[in-house]
């Protein structure tokens, strides 16, 4: 098993690193290569009951920081909070920064950027020639602990993650990369911020009970809203519920992001 996984990893490393290096010197090493494979999501996909196929991809080792995002705004001032169109970002967008192009005490450079909309996160990743990870990619990467690629059945690990969710979100955010890397070399998937995914708007979890069993309403085409396969995995369920409740222009005090790249 190990042997089969190492080969694609190596290939990915060889291909992704030069690509990343193109963007800027600092980008080299910013991504970890993930081999992908068959993955059982916590979501019940009626069309993929035996799991989804994740293609090899690269994921940023750490969430995007305030300093990273400021560098983007210097090149793309149309995304500053005083210039962005309201269709792309609500009024609280980057509201914790000292100014439109100034970080300040509530947004230290090495803290994850939050109060960012899906559109802004998407634009940042596009700027790097990257993209947001899909939900499946994010969940796959986040299933790992420090030593196992799939730690989801480990009760201790689940407890640890839930412990973070029970902490007050009023506390200041820690630096990115403070926590140990997971088995893929990716930090902070749990325990720091929530993260946008490219397909956040595909997570159609219908929370409105009144629409249940009313096909005439036709709210969802085809098989309808998603449901959960693993109701014990509360941490991931909360992520899904959060993402499915947000519109692309919404921002929150805990919602950040990181970028991904497909293996060429």
């Amino acid at each position: 098993m190990r042997k089969r996984l190492t080969a694609p990893l190596l290939v990915l490393g060889l291909v992704v690193l030069p690509l990343a290096g193109l963007a800027a010197g600092v980008v080299a090493g910013r991504y970890a290569g993930l081999p992908g494979g068959q993955f059982k999501s916590v979501l019940r996909y009626e069309d993929a009951k035996n799991g989804v196929r994740i293609k090899p991809f690269a994921l940023m080792r750490k969430p995007v920081t305030n300093a990273d995002f400021l560098a983007f705004l210097k090149r793309h001032p149309e995304w500053r909070r005083d210039r962005v169109s309201s269709v792309f970002a609500e009024s609280r967008y980057l509201s914790h920064w000292a100014g439109p192009d100034k970080l300040g005490p509530n947004a230290l450079p090495d803290r994850p950027v939050v109060w960012v909309s899906w559109f802004a996160a998407d634009a940042y990743c596009s700027w790097l020639g990257a993209r947001l990870p899909t939900w499946n990619e994010w969940e796959y990467a986040a299933a790992a602990d420090e030593t196992h690629r799939d730690a989801r059945q480990d009760p201790a690990w689940r407890e640890r993650i839930l412990g973070w969710y029970s902490r007050s979100s009023r506390d200041a955010l820690p630096r990115v990369g403070m926590q140990a890397a997971n088995a893929y070399g990716v930090h902070d998937l749990h325990g720091l911020v929530w993260e946008w995914t490219e397909d956040a708007s595909s997570l159609m979890v219908d929370s409105d009970n009144r629409t249940q069993g009313d096909p005439d309403r036709g709210k969802f085409c085809g098989a309808g809203a998603l449901s959960m396969d693993d109701r014990e995995n509360y941490a991931v369920m909360m992520r899904v519920a959060m993402l499915s409740s947000l519109e692309g222009r919404d921002t929150t005090a805990n919602m950040g992001f990181r970028c991904a790249r497909s293996a060429p």
Partner: protein
């Protein structure tokens, strides 16, 4: 340079600019800036059923019903088209002329001018009012996001998606939306459409 020759120069420039734009002026009035909450803030090249590619800002100028669909969809998508027609039937012919309908495909891999045209012909859509168009694959998420439409592609190539009609004003601001799909339109939504197109 004296003040006079400066004035001259400026006038010359102005004249040149005016001449340059004279040809365009008939086709398009100089558009006022878009409101910040306009869906047209998103740059979106759309290729329609006649094979013409234009940014959707070219659709500014009249209120429009907007939705997303895909041509190989068997069930709900034909209903979305029927819903658009049902709203139109609630209007006078003069009002119908003042309302556009835009259906954006969420399936650029399979939808092209030919498949779109097939739907136009089958459904007998009047192309002076209806636009069926495909965005580039990379833009589907963004257009769905500005419209507040959720979708997910299934393993078999079909899509799950929220079905709604969205009413935008001439500048692309969302005025109303309805999730009541079918031949009996939502009266509140129809009232909003009537108000948007005027008496």
């Amino acid at each position: 340079m004296t003040m006079l020759s400066m004035k001259h120069l400026l006038r010359g420039i102005a004249a040149t600019v005016l001449l340059g734009f004279a040809g365009l002026a008939c086709a398009a009035q100089p558009a006022p800036p878009l409101p910040g909450d306009s869906i047209y803030q998103l740059p979106l090249p759309l290729t329609d059923s006649q094979g013409q590619t234009l940014d959707w800002r070219a659709l500014r100028g009249k209120p429009r019903l907007v939705s997303m669909f895909y041509t190989s969809c068997q069930y709900i998508c034909p209903l979305i088209i029927e819903s658009g027609k049902a709203v139109e039937r609630q209007l006078t012919p003069a009002q119908q002329k003042r309302l556009g309908v835009l259906l954006v495909s969420m399936d650029p891999a399979r939808d092209n001018p030919a498949t779109l045209k097939k739907v136009v012909d089958q459904r007998k859509l009047d192309l002076t009012r209806w636009t069926l168009a495909t965005p580039p694959a990379n833009d589907v998420r963004s257009v769905a996001a500005v419209l507040g439409i959720r979708y997910r592609q299934l393993a078999d190539g079909e899509f799950n998606h929220s079905s709604m009609l969205i009413l935008v004003d001439a500048n692309g601001r969302i005025l109303a939306r309805t999730e009541k799909i079918g031949t009996q339109p939502d009266p509140d939504f129809v009232a909003a459409v009537r108000k948007a197109v005027g008496g």
